[in-house]
Each structure stands twice: as C-alpha cells, then as structure tokens.
Amino acid sequence: MSEERRELLQSLKADARSDDPTLHAQVAKRITDAQVLDTLDSEADYANAATFRLRVSQVLEALASNAAPSAHDAFVSLTTDEAFIADDDRTLALVRTSQHIRPPPPPLVDFWDRYCQPEDGFTPTTIKVLLANGTEPAIGLLEKKFADPAHEDGEKVAWMRMDILRHRNDVLVLQASQRLLEGELPEPLRPDLVEVLFDYKPEVWYRPAVSASPPELITASPLALDALHAVGLVALTMVRLTEEQRAAVKARLEQVEKLRGF
C-alpha cells in the first residue's frame, strides 16, 4: 500500500471513530469525492473486490460502529449519494456495514428495501444484514420480504436455512416467524420455516461449500424460549407438517419446557 493511501485511510478511519460531528460529516463528504475514492481503491482493487474487500469499507465500518448519532447520520447520508452508490461494490460495502446502525432510521430502512429486490445482486447480503441488525424495523422489513411474492420461494427457503437458522434464538426473529406462520408466509413455505426453527438437517439442506450452524438452545434467553414455545404451538396447530416435522417440534418444545422449568 502506498504511503499516500495508508495515510488517507488512517485519517479517514480516525475521523470516523472520533467524537466530532463535524469530522463525521466531513468523512462522508470526502468519500464521495472521486479523487479520494480512487486513492483509497484502485481500479485493480475494484476488480478484486469479490476477493478482497475495498478499503473504503473500513471507513464505512468505522462510521457505522461509532455510536454517535452524527456518525450514523453521516453514514446514512451515503445511502442516497448518487456518486457513492454508483458502484455496486461500494454499495455492497454500505449494505454490509449498515448492520451496526441501531436503531436504523427510516432512510436506512428504505435503502435496505431498495437493495433487497429479486435478482438484484444485493439481496442475499441485505437479508443477512437485516437479521444481524436485529432491530424491529429490520426484522419488520425481513417479514415483508418473506411475504413478497416477487422473491422466489427457493430464495426464501435459502434465507431460512442460511440466515434465519443462525438467529433462531433471537426474540424478534421468533416473533416475526410466528406472525409469518399465522398469516403472510405462503403456505408451502411454512413447514420449511418450522423445520429451520425446530430442527437441523445439514445433510439435506446444504451443499459442500455452503452451510450454516444454529446457536445452541441453551444460549437462548428466557424471552426467546417463551417465543419459541409460542411458535411451536402455532406450528403444531396451524401448519401442515409431516410426522417427522411434528416430532422435531415436539422434541424441541420438550427441551424448551425443561429449560424454562414448565
């Protein structure tokens, strides 16, 4: 890395991590400047962005991870900056790092929505970010996406098995799942969602290069256990399950009851 590039990156990251609202705004402004962007990441860096993330994403990460509202404002301003989002790799970096913005302001939720459209090249990442963000607006948007018929059922099943699975101890995810099972999720997908919340079948779900692991049930909070219990009851009463699926739900409910001391 050239000295100029190193210094620029360090200065931008330092400003993004600072407490100074003025510096936050300046960082956002500077990284919309073509010359700054070109200094940070060369044409070759953009060509290799699928392998090595852009340096500008480190600046975004610093801004997003800064709890100061001014840092988040600066970050969110980038989501509508035409110059910045003109490049897909920068936009993808913006999506990835946005997971740290809590609570997400409405413009960020709009940004997520815009970059969660069928076959847009962003959606799989946006879905991960919504779950990682885990706030009510994020999970609300996730719920909308599961209900949106524009997204193919196969995609939704993949979101469940790769992403929901990793967050199946999260209270808001469980509550959203219950709502989806009770209404908005297309009926053929409901058993898949139940399976992901109550079972784990890697040999059926995954290919050699693509897999995910669920969190241990024992790490779930009491609230999450209660939410899971409620989802289980909905699943057993309202979802058309196979015997194997029913057995899995019952087995997990027994574990929940044991942990909750019912």
């Binding site: 953009y46 060509a47 290799n48 962005a49 699928a50 392998t51 490049d87 897909d88 790799d89 993808l92 069928p118 076959e119 847009d120 090249g121 962003f122 959606t123 799989p124 990442t125 991960k128 193919e152 196969g154 995609e155 099943v157 993949a158 979101w159 098995r161 790769m162 890697p202 040999e203 995954y206 290919r207 050699p208 290069a209 693509v210 897999s211 692991s213």
Partner: protein
Amino acid sequence: MADKLKLKVTFKRVFVKKSSDWFGSGEFYFIASVDGKTVGDKSQIFDAREGAWIDLPAAKWSAEVDVTTKAQVVVRFNGKDQDTFFDEDLGSLAYAHKPAWKQGLYHGDTEYFRLEYTVELLVDGKYGQHAPDAVFACRATNGNGACTTVSGVPIVARIEVHPVRPVPAAVPPRGLPAGQPIAAVENKGGTVVNPTDPINIIPNPSVIPILTAPGGAAPAAGAPPVADKTTCARIEVTFYRPDTLKFTDTDSRLVWSVRSIAGGGAVSFLGAPNGLKVWVYGTAAGEVALEVRFRGELMATYRVLVMKVKQVPCRFNILNGPTANSKPRSKPADILNHLAITNRYMRQIALELVLDTNPSHKDGAVPTTTPGIFRISVAKGITRNANSGVADFKATRLNYRPGVMNFAYTHSDSGGALGAATDIPASKVAAAPGARPRISDSGTPSTSWIPPTGVAPDGAAGTVNMDLIAAIQRHGHPRLFAMFVCDSNGDPTTAAGMQNYANTISHEFGHILNLGHRVEGPNAAGTGLVAGGIFFDGLTIPLTENIMHWNGPATLCQDFDIIQARAVHQSPLVPP
C-alpha cells in the same frame, strides 16, 4: 535378492630389504593364496636387489572372492630365495580380512621383504579404490538398508516414494538411529502447474495411465496416445538418506521393477528403470507395485492403480450480468487455461475433462468461437453476489445438456465461496437407505500412507474406508451435474490465478464425483477440526495436501489418492 558381494586382492609389489645371498642379487619367488586358492606363479623367479621393488604383474597376482556369505578371507604370502642346494625361506605373512569389508592398500613385513597388496571392493560393477563413503554392502532391515561403505563404516540408508505430493510434513516412523542426524535429500514440494505443462507434470499419481507402447504403428482412432515422457506417469523418489549416496535421476544403482498386485495390472517403463525418477505407462488395467532396489535390496514400494484415462464431456457458460462489475473476468481463452491445469490435476486419477462438441444451446446461451464454451446474459443477481444456497440455483442449470458436466463462471457468491458443486449424482457404490456410500481400499503401502502404512518400520497396512457424498440433485433435473466458479479466485490470466481457478474446479468437480472433504473443519469451538462433518470423507491424512481439503491453498492442495481414484470411477459421470 541382494547383489553378490565381491572383493579383489591384488599383490602389487615387494620391496627387497635383504637379498639373503652373500654375493649379488637374490632370486626370489613367491607363494601366495587368497581364501585358500593359489594366486600368482611360484615358478616365476624375480631378480631381487636390495633396496629395490619387485613389481608383481597384476593379471597373475590377483584374485576375486565372492564374500557374500564369507566370515573372513585369509591372505597368505610367502617369499623364498632360490638357491643351489635348498631354497631359503624369507618369511610368511598372513592376514584375515573380515566384514565389514574395507578397501585399502595393505602391507606386511618380514626380515627380508615388505609386501604391498590392495583390497578392492566391487561397487557398481567396478573394482577400484572408490570414494570412502561409497556403499559396498546393503541389507534391508525393517524398512531401512543396513549398509557398509567401502571404508567399512556402517550407515543406515532409507529410500521413500511417497504417494502424496507435496509430501506431508508428518511422515510415518522411519526407524532411523537416534543421535547425530545424517543429511537426507528430499524431493517433496508442490508443483507449479501451467496450462502448457505436460499432462504428467504432477509426479507420483495414484493411477498410471494405459498408453500405447512406443515404437509401433500410430495408435488407431480411440486408442490411447503413445507413451512418451510427456504422457507417462512420472514416479519419483521423495526421500533418501544419507545424502552421500548422491543418487542421480538416472542412477543405475537404483533399480525399479514391477510386481502385479491385482486384476492383472501391468506397466512398462519408458527408458531404463533406474534412478530417482522413472517414467511408467500402463499396459493392462489393475493394480501394481513398483519396487525400488539398491544393491539388490528392496528399499521402497509404490502402490498404484493402472487404468485407461476416461474422458468426461463438459461445457462452460460465462454468466454476464448487465453491468461491468457483474461480469466475470474470465474469457474463453482463460477458461481453456483453467481447464488445461484442471486436467493436469485430474490426470492423477485418470480423468480428463473434454469440451462438449454438441453445439445445441438454450437459455439465451451464445456459442463462443470455442466449441463447448458459451456466454449467457443474465440478471445481475444470477451472477453477482448470487445465493448459491438456493436449491434450484439458476446459474448452474442454464444451458446444461443432460449427462454433460456443466460449469458456470459467475462473478461472485454471496457466501464468499470460490465455487461450489451444486448438482451431484449418486455414486454407483451401493449404500443402505439414508446412509452415505462407503468405499474401501486395502494394500501396501496404504492409500496416502494412512497409518498403519505398511511402510516399515510402521505396522502392516489395514483396510482404509472412505465415506462418499450422497446424491444432491434438484427436483426435475436428474441428469444435471453442475458447479460454479467465481471471480474471487483472482485474476484469471495470471499464473497464480489460473492455478487457483483450476484448483477450485478440481475440488468441486471432486465433490460432483462424490468425494467428500479430506479434513473438514474447523469445529464450532475453533479448537480443532470437524470430526463428523456432513461432507467429511472420514480421513484426516494428509492433513492439508489433498485437493479435497476443505479450504487449503492451490499451492498445497494438489493430491488425489488411490482410494479417491477408486471412488471417482464409480460416478455415473465417468464412462465405464
């Protein structure tokens, strides 16, 4: 059987200390024997002048002895001075030479003369005074060679032909003496593979290809190509000690031979079967052992299958999104390079991917000028940051032809994969319902030298079992066999990038041929390796050098072993 051990004793000359006669010179003659047999000519009278040497003609005054089973060789020499009435005895010398036999110039004295004689040892068919560390005798003992040099110094020699390249850091016990380490020569590195390299660039494959013997008529259509140094399997010694042996690639001291193990397997050597490196081609399918002997003693064994190279038809689709940065960088010429390197990896298991010559196409595919390679314009999300976790993953089913391996070049995967197998047919290896197929291999040495290896002093090799991947096929496409490969493998035009692409393709194609991960991990705690992963083949050796290692680099993960070769030839994708 060990070579015969021979030495030669030559009485060189005699120095006259005293002639014994009162006047003038003496008239000496000598009576000599070596190992009880008379040497020389006692009727030959030499003019003996005090202070002068008498040279003994070597042709008459030397003897060879086979010492293979001798406990000693006694050298006797008696001088006489011929006289008118009775011959005067000038004294006798007797020396017993015993193992370890030593070459050298020896001498002995009587009052009247000094004798000089030499002992020469037969090394590589020649008598003479050899370099002091030249090995004269060797006896195979528990995997090593208990040898002595011509100087009589005992050394422990060892020769290995490891089937895994690069050779893993952990090797079986060698049973070498403790103490001061003796320098060894190692040939263990990985291979930088370029598309224009000979197809046999990777040494020590698990399969020797059946080829047409050289020197005859050109092979008929469909017959294997002629065996030459670019097509034969290259088998190489990977380790030997001590380095003072200074073996060369064509060293006549190392003698290779073939022993058929199973199925009537047979191979021939191209050129002399000598040295650190040999070229071998198959003449009949089966399984053979190549044996390496030094001084006639068996020092190393290389077990290998013999098969015809099977061709698997394939087609490639470059999936271009609508924007500049949703197009994979690879062009048809790059794909040809990646395919060429892939085939150099696949050669180890007697497979070759060949471009599909059927021009039919669908799904908007546009043929390129290279038959078998197509371009398809797709939505951005099909090729860029695509979700390959989707069961009906579109990218890999576009423009496929049933039964033909389908490769999709995409921009990127949302999970960061370099590539992935998506459609895997069921192996022909039988399995109980719900169980993964399992394949076995028995033989010495074991596949990949999995302990016990059967390489002495390690214990006898056992049966190695390997779990295969069960079928993973999407609904409605029973004869779709497919994978994708992404831009994240790097610049497709550089040497390192090309090898990355080819390594990814070989690994994922291995999955399609039902191979699991050779070592799969890390575990959830991050403290070790997954021991029971869903795509784990059940084996943890080699630790990193197998192509099916879950995430190792192309510079290291280059090997396919015998049990994997057996497995892949059970795929329905591979012609019988």
